[in-house]
């Protein structure tokens, strides 16, 4: 086949002009990336909450004005950040990054990728105000991060909706089943669920397993010490199966994420939703007072109350360029009033006991609830190996869509468990 190139000549001039302009653009553009300055503090945030981003930005500006340092904040998609951090901690580390405490932090500590900031702890005397949460950022007696807000997971609902139907939050499993039927007859989805990001399915599993098998067995499972085919899980999946079959969860939940599911709760399309306090970001400002927290119902009577209480944290990478600057900013950021403001936006429970009392009734309720909790786990994808978590959450999502495949899913998960934990 022949191609006629004579067509080209007519527009050649235009092309050259275009290239010229493009060249000019690139020449001016190339100067744009700011060169790292000595007093620059870079932060990588994974905050998906707009309000929190704004507060972080405001605090950064205040600090800039105060200290003369320059702060550069890179916001990353929450999910993408989980991937990216593995690269940037090795090369191109920022001075400060957001992450999760507990096992997830430990993974990087053992690789030597997080800086020991015990000096900052000592200088600012954090131990005296942090209490038990210190342990979440401590490995071998050294502190590798500052705990941020804790998120108490549970069922959220709208007070007005419950009032209208004369419902009360279910306390026992039978209550819960009855509530589900009531919600369905009110043409509402009993439990709003969006599993596109997979982890909400993991959270639901945590709750049921904690209520049925308790914390120790749950952690043993997370640590790969108990097979996924263990009979102890049979009641968990049996009861979960009942819910799925009973139409308790949002249809097509695998096609959307938690934000859309949260919106359904806000829009009164669903009655309850299992999440952390950050569910508030799916609510319009005016509807926030209606939002309320209820603990996940009891399933096996006598099992003590254990909850997922995940603590986020903030760290200084070992490869940061401006470690001193990072510490100085963290000290500023971690002041009770600053930290309080930052966490309030998320509805998280402050780790410091000297933060100003929250104006958010939800937070205060969570603080009260937390006192009743006997023991806490972090969250499915924080408690187990990341590779296991990936497979596990996909498997749980699949179970929620195709419960009849339970056997093969569990067998598969156990194969993965054996591979990972040996």
């Amino acid at each position: 086949m022949t191609t006629d190139f004579s067509a080209f000549t007519t527009t050649r001039r235009r092309f050259l002009k275009g290239t010229g302009a493009a060249l000019a653009a690139s020449a001016t553009g190339l100067c744009l990336p700011a060169l790292a300055q000595a007093q620059e503090i870079t932060i990588i945030s994974n905050l998906s909450n707009v309000e929190q981003r704004q507060i972080l930005q405001r605090l950064a500006s205040e600090y800039e004005a105060k200290s003369g340092a320059k702060i550069v904040i890179n916001n990353m998609d929450h999910e993408a950040h989980k991937t990216a951090i593995r690269s940037y901690l090795v090369v191109g580390a920022p001075d400060i990054c957001f992450w999760f405490s507990g096992n997830r932090m430990k993974a990087f500590v053992t690789k030597g990728l997080f800086d020991d900031i015990s000096d900052l702890f000592a200088k600012e005397n954090y131990k005296s105000v942090l209490g038990a949460t210190t342990s979440a950022v401590t490995v071998g007696g050294k502190h590798y991060g500052l705990p941020m807000g804790g998120l108490l997971w549970g069922l959220f609902y709208r007070k007005d909706v419950f009032a209208e139907h004369n419902w009360t939050p279910p306390k026992t499993w039978n209550d819960f089943l009855a509530f589900g039927e009531a919600a369905k007859s009110a043409t509402m989805i009993p439990i709003s669920m969006g599993t596109k990001e997979l982890w909400p399915a993991g959270g639901w599993f945590d709750h049921m397993n904690l209520r049925i098998n308790g914390l120790d067995k749950h952690i043993a499972l997370m640590d790969g010490k108990v097979p996924y085919t263990d009979p102890m899980l049979t009641p968990v999946f049996d009861k979960w199966n009942d819910l799925i079959k009973g139409g308790f969860f949002s249809p097509n939940h695998s096609s959307f994420g938690w934000e859309q599911a949260g919106a359904a709760l806000a829009q009164k399309k669903a009655a309850m939703m299992d999440l952390g306090g950050f569910v508030r970001s799916a609510f319009p400002e005016a509807d926030l007072p209606q939002l309320a927290y209820a603990p996940f119902p009891e399933i096996v009577p006598g099992v003590a109350r254990y909850e997922d209480f995940s603590v986020n944290s903030i760290h200084v990478p070992a490869n940061a360029k401006n470690k001193q600057g990072a510490r100085d900013f963290l000290a500023f950021f971690y002041k009770p009033e600053n930290l309080g403001a930052f966490l309030a936006a998320e509805g998280a429970i402050p780790p410091r006991n000297d933060c100003p009392p929250s104006k958010d009734p939800l937070v205060n309720a969570a603080v009260e609830e937390l006192k009743k909790v006997v023991g806490t786990s972090q969250y499915y994808d924080r408690d187990t190996d990341p590779d296991m978590a990936q497979e596990g959450m996909a498997g749980l999502q699949e179970f929620m869509v195709k419960p009849e495949r339970r056997e093969q899913i569990l067998k598969r998960l156990d194969k993965t468990r054996k591979r990972i934990f040996g």
Binding site: T11, R12, L23, G29, P33, S48, A80, S87
Partner: protein, 283 residues
């Protein structure tokens, strides 16, 4: 001509034909039109569920303003230019050189080298993800525009070499013999004979490479992470995660991302089509 042309004088038939094709085009582009329509809608309307009706309020300016002011799209856009333009220039230079040599200076092994360029160009990029990412990390280029520039130049050089080699090979051989007989060095031949003659091919290659590089998403997410470096494609997907329910903003950003290649395409359509056909047909 096939199909048989509708005669010039059958005016009504021609008009009818044209309108039916227009209808097909509208159906064909309906998904895109929907996004365009959404990009001028206000958030309230979307909240109220007016996804498909005629917008009551035109929020075109507001939405695009939101894209510029509340998101880093402008930054991403500039990043994309910073990545794409040097990549295109680099590809044009390298492939003119390699194409010239491979078409005009046959030597033992030159066919093998050519085959490597051609074969490599067809490999799915994902295959080399792990080592390339590792390489950029080791070179200290990870999360800089240079990582993407270097990779794109390297990868596109495969296709571009094929393209330029075939174009130069199709030029009359005696032109090159004449230049040599006249005492022109290979460099002078390149400068005075090849470059002026391959300008049309360079134009076609420029727009093709521009489109390929601008539209790249995979390497953008593999080789960059920070907002200061990320190109629009990765930025768009990020944005979609952050602004889940603000479809009007996401749509506006989508249109914004699509704009440069579409404009380039309409500006240099002939080059694009000719380049694509030649590239595909020859390669």
């Amino acid at each position: 001509m096939y199909p048989r042309p509708i005669p010039e004088n059958a005016r009504i038939q021609r008009a009818l034909y044209l309108s039916s094709v227009t209808l097909v085009v509208i159906l064909w582009l309906l998904p895109l039109l929907a996004v365009m329509l959404t990009s001028i809608r206000s958030n309230e309307e979307l909240m109220a569920g007016n996804y498909w009706g005629w917008p009551q309020k035109f929020s075109l300016i507001d939405n695009y303003k939101a894209v510029f002011e509340q998101t880093a799209m402008l930054r991403f856009f500039l990043n994309s230019l910073l990545i794409t333009i040097p990549s295109v220039i680099g590809v044009l230079i390298l492939s003119t050189l390699t194409g010239f040599v491979l078409s005009r200076y046959p030597f033992r092994g030159s066919n093998l080298i050519f085959a490597l360029f051609v074969g490599g160009n067809f490999l799915p990029a994902q295959i080399m993800m792990i080592p390339v990412r590792d390489l950029m990390v080791r070179l200290g280029l990870y999360d800089t525009v240079y990582a993407l520039i270097v990779f794109h130049i390297a990868f596109q050089t495969g296709f571009a070499t094929l393209f330029m080699r075939n174009f130069i090979a199709a030029l009359p051989g005696e032109l090159f013999q004449a230049a040599r007989a006249e005492g022109a060095s290979p460099f002078q031949t390149l400068r005075h004979v090849v470059v002026p003659l391959v300008r049309p091919a360079l134009a076609a290659l420029a727009i093709l490479t521009f489109t390929f590089v601008w539209n790249d998403y995979f390497w953008a997410i593999v080789l960059t992470q920070s907002d200061a470096v990320k190109p629009v494609t990765a930025g768009l997907n990020n944005l979609r995660g952050e602004w889940t329910s603000a479809w009007n903003i996401v749509s506006a950003a989508t249109i914004f991302v699509a704009l440069p290649p579409v404009v380039m395409f309409f500006m240099m359509q002939k080059h694009f089509v000719a380049g694509l056909t030649m590239g595909a047909v020859k390669g």
